[in-house]
Point group: C2
Chain length 463, copies 2
C-alpha cells in the first residue's frame, strides 16, 4: 500500500509537538546540504564510471568480481571511513562460456540466427543441441501439458511481461517463474532444453539473463533466454510451421566454489557505537553489460551516502556501516553470510537499507518496521517534499538485507524506490551500461539515501 | 506551491458525496482502459519515430516544418477525427547557415577549436570575427561593467545553470536572461559579439541554441552558445591568459516571413459542440537534433490522447480540439494567432492544456483556474494514484496556450508535468533525438494527458 503525506503531515506533528518543528528545521537545512554536496561536488557519477568502465561486469567468481572487491576497499579507504574491512565468504563460480548461439531452420531449408543468452547456472548443451520446438505462453500451460507433447523437444516459454502494469517490478515478478522454474518444469516432462522469452519490457535485440534453479531429482537441461524481438519472431514462425528445427549451443561451465568478500566500511557511532545501521547494495552483477543500474548504482548510492555524511562532518549516533554485498545475483552468499556473521558476533542491528532498483529519479522509500518505526518513517515525508519524493510505503528491504530479519528480531528494513519505468529495459542485459545511467538521477538517488540514513540515525532511532 | 493529496482526498469527497464515488468508480475503470490502450496498443512511439526520423528538426520557415504540417494533417485524418484543418499564419524564417565555427588562439600561437551554435535569430558575423574576450559570470556583472572593459571585445557570459536546484526549469529560468538579453546588454557597451555558456546541465560537447532578442535602437551583434565543456575550458584558459584571441564565424540569415500553419483536429462535442477544450504542443522545433522531447513528445502526447479517446469510442460532452502550434520557439505566432482567431470567431473556450516539458515519466499536472475549477482539479488526484502522478499544483499552461488567457476571461489552463531531471540534457541541442525518448515514459505521458482531458470534459466541466 502506498501511503501519501496525509498521515505524515498531520499525526506526527500533533504527537511530537513543537520540539519536532525545531528539529525539522535543522534537519531540513542539513538535508539541503546533503543534496548540495551530491549535486555540486558529488563523486557518484565518476565512481560509477570507474566501476563500469575500469572493471565492467562482475559475476561472482570472476576475476572482475575480485578486482571490484579491491576497488571498493580502496575507495572506502580513500574516503576515510573509520574502519574498512573485507568479510570472507564462499561464492559459486559459473561461466557462460563460448560459443553461445542459436538458429532455426525453416521448412524450406533457410536458416535464421537468433539472439540468446544462457540463464545463469544453466548446464552446457554438450555441443550442438537440436530439436523441435513446443511453445507455451505461460508456465502454467507447460505444467498442465502432457508428457507426449513435450518429450524430446525444446520448450519455448513465450510469457511476456505485462506492459500495462504500471509497477514494472510486479510485471517482472509475474514472469519470474518462467526463468526460475522453466527448466525444472520442462525436464519433468522430458524436454531436452528450455528457451524463455527474455524478462524485458521493450521489443529489442538484447537477451536478458538471470538466475534459474535445478532440483536434484530432476534432470538438468540447458536453459536460455531469447531477446524479445526474436521471441516474437519465433512465435510468429511457429504459428505457420510447428516443425521448424531449433539448434542451440551453450558452453556453460560450473567450477568449484571460490573465496570472495563482502566489502564493509564504517562511520563509528558517537553515542552507541555498538548499535549498527547498515546500508548497502550488491557489488556483483551478471556477466552481461556492466551492471551499471544492477547494482552498480545501488552500491554507489550507499558509498556516496556515507561519503557525504563524512564530508559534512556528521557524527552519527549509531555506527553507520556501508556493505557492498557479493553474490546477490546467483546465491546471495553475501547477504546470508553477513546476517550469519552478525548473529555469531551478537551484533545489535537497528536497521538496514538497500538500494537495488537502479539509478533512476528517486520516488520514495519503503519501510518494513514496527508501527512506531513506521509512524516515525511517515513523519519524515515532508522533509523530502522539496525533492519530489512522494512514495512512503509499507514493505521494503531487499535480497541482501532480507536475511538480517531472520537473525535480528525487530530490525527495521528500508528500501530505496526510484522510478521503475526504464529498469526492465536494461536489467541483466548488455544494455545495462554506464551510458544508460543519468548523472542527475544517480546523484539525486545518492542524496536521498544519504538523507534517509541521517534521519534513521538521528530521528527514527535518535535520542 | 505544490499541493499534495490531502485536500484532494478529503474535501471534495465530503462536498460531492456519494454520487461522486459512483462516478469515480466508472472514471477509474475508463482511465485504466486509457492507459491499457496507450501501453498495449499505443501509436505514440511509432508516430514520434516517424516525426523525428522521416522529417527531423522543424524550424519555422524550413521545408521540414512544411513537411511536418502535411504529416500532422495526414495523421489526424488517418485517426478519423471529426474535423481536420489548417489554420494559416505567418512565421519568421531564420537560418543558421554554414559555416558556424569558433576557435581560440593561445599566447603561444596554438589553436583550439570550440563547439558553438548561433542563438536563434542571431545576425551573421559577416565573415570571420575576431577579438579579445571579456568574461562575466552573471548577466548583472555585464550590466554593471564599464564601457571601457567591454568595448570592441567579445563578451563571454559564463553563467551556469544551478545543478543544486531540484526543479530544473527554475535553474533554466534563472539563466534565461543571458540568452535572451545578452546581445542587447553587450551591444549597449560596445561589444562586437556575445558568446554564452549553453543553458544545459551536463558538462558535454553539445551547444544548446534557443531564442534571443534584439532592440531596434541597439546595434545587432552576433550571439552564440558554447558547449558547457568548452565554456569551462575557455573560462579556465582566461584565468591564465586574458589576452587570448577568439575567432568565430556565423553565417546566419533572416528571410522574409513565410506562410505556415497550425494543424488542428477535433472530436465534436455531443452536448455542447460550441464549447471548446484545447490540447496541444508545438510542432516546430529548433534546428538542432530532431525536436524529439521539445516538443515532438508534446504534440504526440496530445495526438495520442485524442486518438485513444476516439478509439475507446468516448463521446465528449464538449468539443475536444488538438492543436499542433507552429513557431513556439521563435515568435509564438501560432499561439498568438490561434488566440486571436478564436476571439474573432467568438469561440467559447473552457480550457486548454499544453504539453511542452518533454516525454519523461509523468509526475502530475498544474492548473491555472478559478477556485472552483482548482478544487475540482485537486479532486481528480486519487484517480491518478495508481499511475504515480503526485504533483497537483497551482499554475500551469504554457507558451502556446498562454495567449488564450488574454482573449477568454475565465479560461482554465492546464500544464502536463513530467519528471524534469533529464530535460536540460537535451533541450535545444543535437542530443534531442528520438533515441533519447523512452517508449514507456512517452506512452505513460500520452495516457496521462488523455485521462486528464477526459476528466476535464466529464468531471470539471461535465454535467
Amino acid at each position: 500500500m502506498v501511503l501519501q503525506l496525509t498521515r505524515a503531515v498531520i499525526l506526527p506533528l500533533m504527537v511530537l509537538g513543537f520540539t519536532h518543528q525545531i528539529n525539522a528545521q535543522s534537519d531540513s537545512v542539513f538535508i539541503r546540504r546533503i543534496y548540495d554536496e551530491a549535486l555540486l561536488r558529488g563523486k557518484a557519477y565518476e565512481d560509477l564510471r570507474s566501476l563500469c568502465k575500469d572493471i565492467g561486469a562482475r559475476l561472482s567468481g570472476s576475476s572482475e568480481a575480485a578486482m571490484s572487491v579491491r576497488w571498493s576497499e580502496q575507495k572506502m579507504k580513500e574516503y576515510g571511513f573509520d574502519r574498512v574491512y573485507l568479510q570472507p565468504i564462499m561464492v559459486p563460480h559459473w561461466e557462460r562460456g563460448n560459443p553461445e548461439s542459436a538458429w532455426i531452420t525453416l521448412a524450406n531449408g533457410s536458416i535464421e540466427k537468433l539472439t540468446l543468452a544462457a540463464l545463469g547456472g544453466s548446464v552446457s548443451t554438450q555441443g550442438l543441441l537440436e530439436g523441435e520446438v513446443v511453445m507455451f505462453s505461460h508456465l502454467d500451460e507447460l505444467k498442465q501439458a502432457k508428457k507426449s507433447e513435450v518429450e524430446g523437444k525444446i520448450v519455448f516459454l513465450n510469457q511476456a511481461m505485462n506492459a500495462a502494469e504500471i509497477q514494472t517490478f510486479k510485471a517482472y515478478g509475474a514472469c519470474y517463474p518462467i526463468r526460475g522454474n522453466g527448466a525444472v518444469e520442462g525436464a519433468k516432462l522430458g524436454a531436452k532444453a528450455v528457451v524463455i522469452r527474455s524478462l524485458g519490457l521493450p521489443k529489442d535485440d538484447f537477451p536478458h539473463t538471470g538466475s534459474m534453479r535445478y532440483e536434484d531429482s530432476i534432470p538438468k537441461i540447458p536453459a536460455a533466454a531469447l531477446s524479445t524481438a526474436d521471441a516474437d519472431y519465433l512465435a510468429d514462425v511457429l504459428t505457420q510451421d510447428k516443425k521448424i528445427r531449433f539448434s542451440m549451443e551453450l558452453d556453460c561451465r560450473l567450477f568449484p566454489d571460490e573465496p570472495s568478500f563482502n566489502v564493509i566500511g564504517e562511520l563509528r557511532g558517537r553515542k552507541f557505537p555498538e548499535q549498527i545501521i547498515t546500508l548497502g547494495g550488491h557489488l556483483d552483477s551478471w556477466d552481461q553489460g556492466e551492471g551499471a543500474h544492477d547494482d552498480g548504482a545501488g552500491v554507489i548510492h550507499c558509498l556516496e551516502a556515507l561519503r557525504i555524511l563524512k564530508t559534512l562532518k556528521y557524527q552519527p549516533e549509531h555506527t553507520l556501516r556501508v556493505v557492498f554485498f557479493m553474490n546477490e545475483e546467483n546465491g546471495n552468499m553475501g547477504g546470508k553470510s553477513y546476517a550469519q556473521r552478525s548473529k555469531e558476533q551478537n551484533e545489535i542491528h537497528l536497521a538496514a537499507l538497500e538500494s537495488d532498483r537502479g539509478g533512476f529519479t528517486p520516488r520514495g522509500f519503503g519501510c518494513d518496521g514496527n508501527e512506531i518505526v513506521f509512524q516515525k518513517f511517515l513523519a519524515l515525508a515532508p522533509l523530502f517534499k522539496p525533492y519530489d519524493l512522494h512514495i512512503w510505503e509499507q514493505g521494503g528491504g531487499g535480497v541482501d538485507i532480507g536475511p538480517l530479519k531472520d537473525v535480528h528480531k525487530g530490525i527495521s528494513l528500508f528500501g530505496f524506490i526510484p522510478d521503475s519505468q526504464r529498469y526492465f529495459d536494461v536489467h541483466h542485459a548488455d544494455s545495462d551500461v554506464f551510458e544508460n545511467v543519468n548523472r542527475r538521477e544517480l546523484e539525486l538517488g545518492a542524496a536521498s539515501v544519504s538523507a534517509l540514513i541521517y534521519l534513521i540515525d538521528r530521528r527514527i532511532f535518535g535520542n
